[in-house]
Symmetry: C2
Subunit: 287 residues, 2 copies
């Protein structure tokens, strides 16, 4: 039987690109798109898929918030891997299109925004149109929807290009007429979630979430002391309101090391006694 | 002369709503829309406007990231106030429109997403269209752009409604045909930035950002100790990569109290000696 892995769809998004990078070398695996992060995580939690690839730090197709919030209590999934890919936007159009012929550009609002400098310089007269995702924009160009609508109204013949991924261009049989058209070199971080995390490799990270209860000014400091005294390096810390109660927070911490390393095991054992809630979200190799 | 305050435009967004709430009672003030957070903060920094209202925790029209990143080094602005408003989406259409007549709904992708349950239940057959902002969607409905385009192609007569703010409905002379159509009760947080922060009121918060330099596992713990030992309550903590160097972080911390309170003054004095970078972002009354 083929292993089933879900990702945040549609096909041709950066999340699929992350999934494909992750699967490189893994044979007999099927990538299935899910339309929301909520549905994707629930499917993994119920065992309908074995793993889920989700964006956690990505300004284009997803947000950290909902993934982190769901990991706290709604699902019982572990972080198995982290995948980091650079965002590289492409200008995508039907085969044979020359840059100067493009009259209209379509994409997700944030993708258009990230390519503003390029578009202003190279296509100053192009009309800008919006789509739900970069993949959806590429699909619209492939099916010439924009051309048909605009052509019928105005009588002239527009030529659409989309801002999107290499994968989407390939999926819809279109050409890339310009690469890396985004200004800043944003990296995006994706997680692979599963019923179990990853074995110790010696170059690992561990993610946890805990709550210290309200009105304990020194609570967080007290907990961080367990890491500091053992020289455990923290690579991320973030507080998120627990929602049910103003003034109550969850703290998300990433640290270097595996939960089976002795120092980490020990630190977490001491922390367990000091918090009102602790969940080890998983250990996984550093990207 | 009238005082000039800028906000993230266009007119009719939640950011303008926050600005208006903030200004209530302040006479002789003009609210000026800016089209990007970058331009808005630079205008305040150069003194072209006296204050800037920006979203910092808002899933509709802005992101925390760029505001926090600019406050670190690019501008020398202080946080003067925080404004918290609940997100309440409205369905907005021309006067006299009945809900059952609506054939098409337009808004910002995330606003449509937040109202999915309502739209699925009450307008299951409506076509969904995207706009750059909720304000832009309302403007499009006011100018009947969608009707004109679709009407010309299909021959039938569509009726558009937008998802947006009460302020936008008023601005464009449209009616609200349904209120609070979003599922979750999201709150959004805005900041007022200025050349100086706010005087001590006794119910204050202070925001700081600092960096401890790389490869100092106990660095953060050491700093938090200065707060813990003085029973200073932290209300938010977040690490953000410093970008220039992987492994280097900025820590953003919000605490209860004013920077002129003795305990806070003392804590910050000790912290100054322990960090490679410290900036007090301002003290302001708790929202």
């Amino acid at each position: 039987m083929r292993k089933k892995i879900g990702f945040l769809g549609p096909e041709g998004t950066y999340c699929e690109e992350a999934g494909t990078k992750y699967l490189k070398g893994l044979a007999k695996t099927r990538l299935t798109p899910y339309s929301t992060i909520h549905q994707l995580l629930l499917a993994a939690n119920r065992g309908k898929i074995e793993e889920a690839v989700v964006p956690v730090e990505n300004s284009i197709e997803g947000t950290v918030g909902i993934v982190m919030d769901m990991l706290v209590k709604e699902v019982n999934l572990k972080i198995k891997r982290e995948i980091i890919i650079p965002i590289a936007h492409n200008l995508i159009a039907p085969r044979g299109t020359k840059l100067y012929q493009v009259t209209d550009v379509i994409s997700h609002p944030q993708a258009i925004d990230q390519c503003k400098d390029y578009l202003r310089k190279k296509l100053p007269k192009a009309n800008l149109h919006l789509a739900y995702s970069t993949a959806d924009a590429v699909k619209q160009v492939a099916t010439s929807i924009g051309e048909k609508i605009l052509g019928r109204i105005s009588g002239h013949h527009p030529l659409f290009a989309a801002v999107g991924t290499r994968a989407a261009a390939k999926l819809y049989g279109l050409s890339i007429i310009a690469t890396k058209i985004n200004a800043s070199q944003n990296q995006t971080r994706f997680l692979v979630l599963s019923k179990s995390d990853y074995r110790r490799t010696g170059r690992d990270k561990t993610s946890i979430v805990f709550s210290v209860g309200r009105d304990r000014p020194g609570g967080l400091h007290n907990i961080l002391g367990e890491f500091a005294s053992r020289a455990i390096n923290l690579t991320k810390i973030e507080s998120r309101p627990a929602k049910k109660d103003l003034g109550d927070y969850y703290f998300f911490i990433d640290m270097e090391g595996h939960r089976e390393d002795n120092v980490i095991k020990e630190a977490l054992n001491f922390i367990k006694k000091k918090v009102s809630f602790l969940k080890i979200l998983g250990s996984y190799p550093k990207a």
